[in-house]
Each structure stands twice: as structure tokens, then as C-alpha cells.
Subunit: 356 residues, 2 copies
């Protein structure tokens, strides 16, 4: 019943030089599509040629934002193509769906469809270390009327984009500004979901940070404006006096797949790990007394992103002399090693989905 | 240069029986479209046949929610068509644009285009009192790549939908649930903008309220969870001991056009008016000591929406015996009277835009 149909594109695109393209600018020849209606539920799963999509000008998502997405990556390992933790990502898609009142998808079916899509598009998976095929599943309410209510029809797509190594000039620390004016999400809001609202709320602060010379924004909680939340495109971790500390999952931050990878591996390596509330004042104090050893982000895009400078209220904390810390380096090497096959994958983080 | 072109639809639709259709389900024959690109700015303003629109599957708004909208109404006054406070709505569109980092529009140009559109579609403006032609301008980021950043290309549309009287069974009080779990918007967030994020954040609480037998949700502030904010589709006002009290515009609620109309008229009628923080405890106390005379919402859709029941933490406050209060009735009659031409429009709230 739910077999995934395949409509082949009549013309295949020329593949770009991945090292010269930005993130998410080029897409492969095909995409996966599935439709939800009240009477049929999720139906008509099919792989079709990549093309523009058509919506009503009264589309519920354009007006009221009922949408969610995921982001994961496929890598070349010699003659194999693997995806990093695909089921974790698809289960998180369903968690976002729950928060936005979008009907749950059949993870097994979408997983099957994703593997079929990657098999078809395997020639698009870049072979160089650091490069990957970015996988973007997304769901949006497709109703074409203007009432504010939970949608009755949805579309799910998976689109694929070959992406360069995140660090085009080599793995290097970023400058992060701690945001004390704008709020991304708060308790009781949508912060735990991968949904457009959280990104819309981050745009202006991102501009302000860039103007001040920072790469990204570190969010504080919306209530007390003192507890660390996340960086918007990644979770944040601190190494303080030997311990790995990261904000607990309190409903206002994303439950990062790379975050849980890092925490699991760090524990196995023997580091004390703590998921708890951590205030910006505690970070400042640790900086002052010399116990703030490392700060780094974790996320699908960059895997590990060492923070060289943390700016707060006009003052810059320079972390580990602005250099990559040894823990961040070791974790980056390990996780990217598992992804490219240089490290043995003892946790089964990767799943082989195609042979080239 | 910025003349508004007109491409006429080849087939005109049959007009529906407005009394039998829901809100925002039917659209007129034409719509206004304008395009923004970095090199040309806003350009190519044109009125074209109403039709579906085409977006990239990587569309920035579907993924990251950079969009805004407005809602206003056109009414028949005998042989004339008027719009209620169109420039206030278009200026508020630009305020939302500022918050979402969307390029400002030329209000004069959009105003001209709107009048031309209504002139073309004037036969769609329903003639019965209470019915209207709902006007929905909206702007969305139209970029087709997956980076989280402020868009470089945008589309603006204005679509028109004939709508029935809001109170199909007569002007009557609603049941409102005070929401103490979920948060719509908070200080430092997007609450002041008409943007999808705020509506996405309201969907789940709306479902919960409906399941508990309430019509809508009254939001509390996201920090202390005690100060009254708004109802999501309308602002909220209280009549306490003869005074009209409404939450101040603090950045997390919408600056309603009907709200400002009501406050201005109430002052002229000699009522004391106060825009200030008001806590749910103050409302409860006023209810208990008998000084909570009326509660009502204000918004473009309903104009005035008397609240008959206010539920908070499982207890219902029955306002004015569940009946429409005299102030709400008087204000409803006055504003709808101005809109339909039964009342003299001494404030120039309405603008004549077409003759039928």
C-alpha cells in the first residue's frame, strides 16, 4: 500500500564543484514527497524530479507558520554511503510534529523512502572528507484558507543538497555574542521544535551580532535572561575544571543529535558530564578564575564549533587563548572520523544506505 | 516607473453566498503582487489573476518563517466602498517588516495599488451589514536556499476574501481560557509583529482550550506568567469600576488598530482609559469585589467580542452574568455603524475607495 513510487527526472543536472558552493544552494535531481489529508492520512509517498512547489496564496504556513524540519547528513565511506543517526533525526521530526500538532509520520516508511532516495542520488554524495550530502526533510501545513487553526492537509518533502566542509579555511574557532536584548524562545514556547518560528525570532539578533563582528548569537533564557540556552544553529558546551557542562533539555532548546553524541562519547572517554542549568555569570566566574578551559558548539552543520571569543555586555572573554581546545579537537576528529569511516563506528551511529 | 500594471483574469468566478462561507475560504478574481530583489528593490507592482504561487522547496519562509501580514476590511456603504483605516494597517505592515528585517514598502504605492485592486474587485464587496471584503496583504522571503539568514528576495501580495458577519448567530459573548502553560510571545521576541511565529506558537494552546470548551486563549506574559497580554486574534480590554483598562503596548503584544479606535472613542465619550500592566490577579480581585463590569476583545475580525466567561486555573469567572455589557454593545454598534455608514465618520476612519 505504502510503496514508494519513483518518477525519474528526464534530464539530470551537472554536478557542481562542491568546494565552491555555499550551504544549501544546490539540490539534487530528485526529492521525496508525501501528502497528508484528513480522509487518507499520510499517503502517496513518491520520489519525483526536484522542482518548484505550488501553494495557495492563502497557504497556512506562509501566514501562520505551522511547519517543521530536520537536518542530517550522508557521507561517502569509500564505496559506501552512510547516514549519521537517521532514525534519531526522524524520531526528532515526529517530536517537532507533536509540538506543532502536525500528524505523526510513519518513521519506518520515511526511513525506507530516505534510503531509496539516497540510493538514487548516491552519485551526488561528495567524496572528500568534510563534504557531505545534506538531507532536509520538512513538513508544512498546506491548507489554502485564512483561518488560524491546525491544518487539515500537509506535505512532507525530503530535499538533498551537496555541501562543502563547514570550515572552508580549516577547523577554527568562532566569535559568539551572548544576546541580552532579544529572546529566541522561552518556557512554554516552541524552542524544543525545529520550526520556522524559532529561526524567524533569531534573524534580527543575528544581524546585530554580525554588525558587531561576531559570527553567531548565544541565547539566554527568556525569563531571567541569565541561563545559557543554545546558539540557534547548535547546542553549546563548556569544559569547566575538567567537566563537560551543557544546558539541560528544559523544553526551550533543541535536543541536538550531535549534542547527545558528544555527551555519550565524552562519558565513555571518562569525562564527568553534567546537563544542568548554567548561568552566564557562572561562565564569567569560571573565566575569571581560570577554570573555563573550553567552549564549543555542537550541531549537524559544523559537528563541533570551538568558540574562541565569547562577548557579553561589550566585554570579550577569550577562551583558551582563542585557539581550538584539545577536547573540542579530539571530539571533532572522532565524530568526523566515524562519519567518514576513518574511525570504527562502535556505536552504530552510521547506517550504510548505498554502495557506490 | 512604479505604475501598477493590470493583467485581467480571462474567466471571472461565480460569487459565493457570503452568508454560507467560512472566514477566508473564497478569494476574488485578482490579487496584487510586488517583487523585491537586492538590485531592484521593490519593483513590478501588478494586479494579476488570483492563482497559486510557486516557491522553491528550499523557500526561506517555509523553513525559517521570515514573513509578515496584515488584515483589514472593505465595506459597502450604499453605492460606495470604504476601507477602515487602511493607512494605519499599511504602516503597521512596515512596523512588522522592521521587526522581521524585511525591506520597508512604499506605503503610498501599496495604498494606491490597494485602491486600484478594490476598484477592480468592487462587485465582490458584500452589501449586507456585518459582511465585508477581508483584505490580506502579506510579504514573505522568497529565497530558495537553506542558509539561516535575512532574505535577499521577497514577494508582497494582497489577496481579498469576502467574509460573513463574524457573529453568524448574532452578536454574543465568547468563553476565553486564561493560558498558564503555553506562551505566545515574550519580551525580546516577535510578539509585536504580525508574523507566522506568533500564530504557530498559539496553535496547540488553541486546541487545548477548544477541548476544554473555550473559544479562545487569553495569553499571560512569558516572564512572570501573571500579566495579561492579548487573545491572539484580538486585544483584550476590561471595564473595571467605570474605567477602561487594557494592557500597555510593551513589545510583546500587537498594536491593534481596533484597540486604538476603541481607546480613542472611549476617551471622547468621557470614559477614563488606562493602558497599563494588568495582572490576572487584579482581574480576579475585581471579579470578586464586583467591580469587573465588562471584559471584551477588539480586533479587525470581530470588531468587538464580549467575553462572557473567563476561565483561569479551572475556575470560571462569569462576566456580567454572561451577557453583553452595555459599553461593549455601544462600542460595537458605533464602530460597525461607522464601517457601514450608519454613523457619521467624524474621525475619518474610513476611506472611500470605489463607487459601485
Amino acid at each position: 500500500m505504502n510503496e514508494v513510487n519513483f518518477v525519474q527526472a528526464s534530464n539530470l543536472k551537472e554536478k557542481p564543484d562542491v568546494s565552491k558552493i555555499g550551504f544549501g544552494t544546490h539540490f539534487t535531481d530528485h526529492m521525496f514527497e508525501m501528502t497528508y489529508t484528513e480522509d487518507k492520512g499520510w499517503h502517496n509517498p513518491q520520489i519525483i524530479p526536484f522542482s518548484d512547489i505550488t501553494i495557495s496564496p492563502a497557504n497556512a504556513t506562509i501566514h501562520y507558520g505551522q511547519a517543521i524540519f530536520e537536518g542530517m547528513k550522508a557521507f561517502r565511506q569509500g564505496d559506501k554511503v552512510v547516514i549519521f543517526r537517521p532514525l534519531d533525526h526522524l524520531n526528532r521530526l515526529n517530536n517537532s510534529a507533536r509540538i506543532l500538532d502536525i500528524p505523526q509520520v510513519d518513521v519506518e516508511l520515511v526511513h525506507t523512502a530516505l534510503k531509496k532516495l539516497i540510493e538514487i542520488e548516491k552519485a551526488w554524495v561528495p567524496a572528500q572528507r568534510g563534504q557531505s550530502l545534506y538531507i532536509r526533510p520538512f513538513i508544512y501545513a498546506d491548507d489554502g484558507f485564512l483561518g488560524v487553526s491546525v491544518g487539515k492537509s500537509y506535505k512532507l518533502y525530503i530535499i538533498l543538497s551537496p555541501v562543502a566542509a563547514y570550515y572552508s579555511h580549516g577547523f577554527s574557532p568562532v566569535k559568539i555574542m551572548v544576546e541580552d536584548t532579544y529572546v529566541r524562545a522561552t518556557q512554554g514556547g516552541l524552542g524544543e521544535a525545529k520550526t520556522p518560528a524559532n529561526y524567524a525570532a533569531s534573524l534580527h539578533a543575528g544581524l546585530v551580532a554580525h554588525k558587531k563582528g561576531y559570527d553567531q548569537t548565544l541565547w539566554l533564557d527568556g525569563v531571567e535572561r541569565k541561563y545559557i540556552e543554545e546558539v540557534g544553529s547548535m547546542n553549546i558546551l563548556f569544559k569547566i575544571n575538567g567537566e563537560i557542562v551543557t544546558p539541560e533539555l528544559d523544553g526551550s532548546i533543541l535536543s541536538g543529535i550531535t549534542r547527545r553524541t558528544v555527551l555519550q562519547v565524552a562519558k565513555e572517554w571518562g569525562y564527568p558530564v553534567s546537563e544542568r542549568r548554567i548561568s552566564i555569570d557562572e561562565v564569567k566566574d569560571a573565566y575569571k578564575n581560570g577554570t573555563l578551559e573550553e567552549v564549543f558548539g555542537s550541531g549537524t552543520a559544523a559537528v563541533i564549533s570551538p568558540v574562541g571569543v565569547l562577548g557579553y555586555k561589550g566585554e570579550d572573554m577569550v577562551i583558551n587563548d582563542g585557539k581550538i581546545g584539545p577536547f573540542a579537537q579530539k571530539m571533532f576528529d572522532y565524530v568526523t572520523g566515524v562519519q567518514c569511516g576513518a574511525e570504527k563506528d562502535i556505536h552504530n551511529f552510521t547506517e550504510v544506505v548505498a554502495e557506490v
